[in-house]
Amino acid sequence: MMSAVNHPAASEGLAAVARNVTKRYGRTVALDDVGIEIKDGESHALVGRNGAGKSTLVSILTGLQAADSGEVSFFGKPAPALSDREGWRRNVACVYQRSTIMPALSVAENLFINRQGKRLISWSKMRRQAGELLEPFGVDVDVNTPASDLTVEQRQLVEIARALSVGARFIILDEPTAQLDGPAIERLFERLRALQDTGITFMFISHHLEEIYEVCQTVTVFRDARHILTAPVAELGRAELVDAMTGEPGGLTVPGAADRPDVSQDSEVALNVENLTGDSFSDVSLRIRRGEVIGFAGSASSGKHQLAETVYGLRKPSSGVIEVDGRKVKPGSVLDALKHGIGCVPRDRHHQGLVLGLSIAENAAMTVMNKLGPAGLVPPKQLAGVGSKAIESYDIVTSGADQPVSDLSGGNQQKVVMARALASDPKVLVLINPTAGVDVKSKESLLGVVDRVARTGTAVIVVSDELDDLRVCDRVLVMFHGEVAHEFGRDWTEQDLVAAIEGVSE
């Protein structure tokens, strides 16, 4: 099962082929003699843990980077020269993992970048076409707004709409769903199926394995920069797939709240929020006891993110009180929140989570710099210590604590953000979309961390769109239009929760 499945011998009927591709980044081997064959008309899933080399293969398959060795061909013909960007674009379109939006340009122009027309651009025509393009995705924005004003989800949808509309017969989607919520994903899949019916070939990368079962026919697994197997999706069970990804049998055990002892009603209140009103939410009150994990669910407009960010001081509330252990926290001050023992994984790691140019150690220690030595002294040993501890505890794939975060894969970067939040041993931990872009196994370990710190008495807030993340919660609060509309205990069911989120439950 763990050995590579034999390559199909047929060389025709292949949309894209990569053979014996090796790619190094300095000391890191990102791809080690891997190959992939994608049949014309199929949807081919590529899975693997964070840092397995998936995105690297994508950049080689789209001509953004040259492989150190190996070859790529499309529809039986060798790939064009690297400088022939037009040639690559005719063969393959792609939604990259990293944003390729130009923030200053309008949504319309982002959709039509570099294909605005051969001659004089007609802006009104472009705007009209842009509106038509976005229609099926339910992105309801004025196409004249600069892309910088879009939400993360909207930007992602714009990228998807663009890639699907280029007209290439082979399309790569690198984690297109990581930033999307349920309905948006459904709409995306509808479009995918429609395109599949017209014979378009897809390569699809996702950490949500059930999506692979939903849209793909074949799956390839990478591990540690190597090709592990390629098999029809129908023949590979979920447990086998996970085993192939992790390289060890045992499957997954997402921790659930039920395994933890009940939080006793007389355990101390760690976080007390009273009548808090702020951006997109109003008059929210809640108490979280030590060791309790609270989940927040709700639509993108429910105000759940804003509430969490306000608790950590990233936003200033217009009224209300936040107390940790009975002591009031200065509103709108991250520094004061940290002093009172609040830690946070912010929503977007590239925006607020990481300083990409700095090392893992430095990022992980950023919230505790003042605790490492006297008078602000940061002894290198201590700093390295924080770094290696983070690497060990969160299973970060890296060449060392002094590697710049910019060199890590997306999932590993997310783990560094988690390490940063937990470095200060917070009494209250606020997690916003903590597992976005994290592989199944790492997700297990990150949620395991949540479970572990809860057991040691930390109060945790989890704000997430993913049900898995909410399973570790003792209570789940559903927000609707800025207010807490429903509260569930550990025994919530999917249907109830979804109904509450959509505001249709009684």
């Binding site: 037009e86 919520d181 993108a300 429910s302």
Partner: protein, 341 residues
């Protein structure tokens, strides 16, 4: 198993109003300097009766025409996300080299004495070569554009001093003089030229794929590459055009002054950046319009003109100029409400 929840996307975006909002962002940002220009016109008119005469305003335009070409060049380069400091020495060196190649040694020529009509093409070619060389160092050696063009600023200024031997060149071929000196329909030719080039630039940057690609490259170079734009070619082209525009500016200035001094262009790059940035061009690339840059040139020209007309004490000239520039910045910041970069 891991489904995502289903929120309603609707309310998360702006109230979905009509297709076209009454005031468009790009347009609005462009007009940021109009209040500043109006205030300057009013203040100027109040301070001196000559200010609003055509003669004076035409003078402002003519005096700013060489600067405006440099600003046009710099604005395009900045939009592409690069930098060119060496424009300030290209404006002097390109005409000096061209002229030194055609005039006799007695007029400080290099002794080649090529045909006089070659002067104009030689001048433009020199500008193009300097731009191309900047491109080589920036793109092939992957050096920072700032430091490369700073090095080139010094080098090219040095070549200017070396070739001219530090002398002003007084003997200028007729073709050179022509552009900077003649008038057409009552407007100096140099004003026509810079207006025409600005219009061409605006049209290309607004309505042509090639022009839009500058914004793409400056906004996110990786994304531009991914979208099939040959980013290196775009950058190189813009740098070369920048050099050519600087050389042309040098020709206009030579015509206006009747000679090339050994310090032509010295310190000019500060004015170029001031005009471009006041005009809303971002130093981080991908933002700003040529119309804004042109407004920036006008603001700067009007400030200088008013200071000259009111004959403020020379010792306090720069202090007042600086304060007014800062005020114009604050004003345009307050009227657009957008933070600057």
């Amino acid at each position: 198993m891991t489904e995502t929840l289903s929120p309603d996307t609707g309310a998360s975006t702006a109230p979905a109003s009509g297709r076209r909002p009454p005031l468009r962002f790009a347009r609005f940002r462009d007009l940021a300097l109009v209040p500043a220009i109006v205030i300057l016109l009013v203040v100027g008119a109040l301070l001196d009766p000559t200010f609003l005469t055509t003669g004076n305003l035409l003078g402002v335009l003519q005096q700013q025409s060489a600067l405006s070409l440099l600003v046009l060049a710099e604005a395009m380069i900045l939009i592409t996300g690069k930098f060119d400091l060496s424009l300030e020495s290209t404006i002097g060196f390109a005409p000096v080299l061209a002229i030194a190649l055609v005039v006799p040694t007695s007029a400080h020529g290099l002794g080649t004495e090529w045909a006089a009509w070659l002067a104009v093409p030689l001048c433009l070619l020199t500008g193009a070569l300097i731009g191309a060389f900047n491109g080589l160092l920036i793109l092939k050696f992957q050096l920072s554009a700032f430091i490369v063009t700073l090095g080139m600023l010094i080098t090219v200024r040095g070549l200017h001093e070396g070739v001219s031997g530090g002398n002003s060149l007084f003997q200028i071929p007729q073709s050179f003089m022509f552009l900077g000196f003649e008038t057409w329909l009552g407007l100096p030719l140099s004003v026509w030229i810079s207006l025409a080039l600005f219009v061409v630039g605006m049209v290309v940057l607004s309505y042509f794929r090639q022009g839009r690609s500058l914004y793409a490259v400056g906004g996110n170079v990786d994304a531009a590459k991914a979208a099939g734009i040959r980013t290196n070619k775009v950058i190189w082209t813009v740098l070369i055009i920048g050099g050519v525009l600087a050389a042309l500016a040098g020709m206009l200035e030579t015509g206006r002054l009747g000679a090339i001094g050994a310090n032509l262009g010295d310190g000019m790059i500060f004015d170029v950046f001031a005009a471009a940035v006041i005009g809303g061009i971002s130093l981080n690339g991908g933002k700003g319009t040529l119309f804004g840059a042109l407004c920036g040139v006008l603001v700067l020209g009007l400030i200088l003109n008013i200071l000259r007309l009111t004959a403020v004490d020379g010792h306090w000239f720069n202090a007042i100029k600086g304060v007014i520039i800062l005020l114009a910045l604050v004003l345009s910041r307050l009227t657009t409400g957008k933070a600057q970069e």
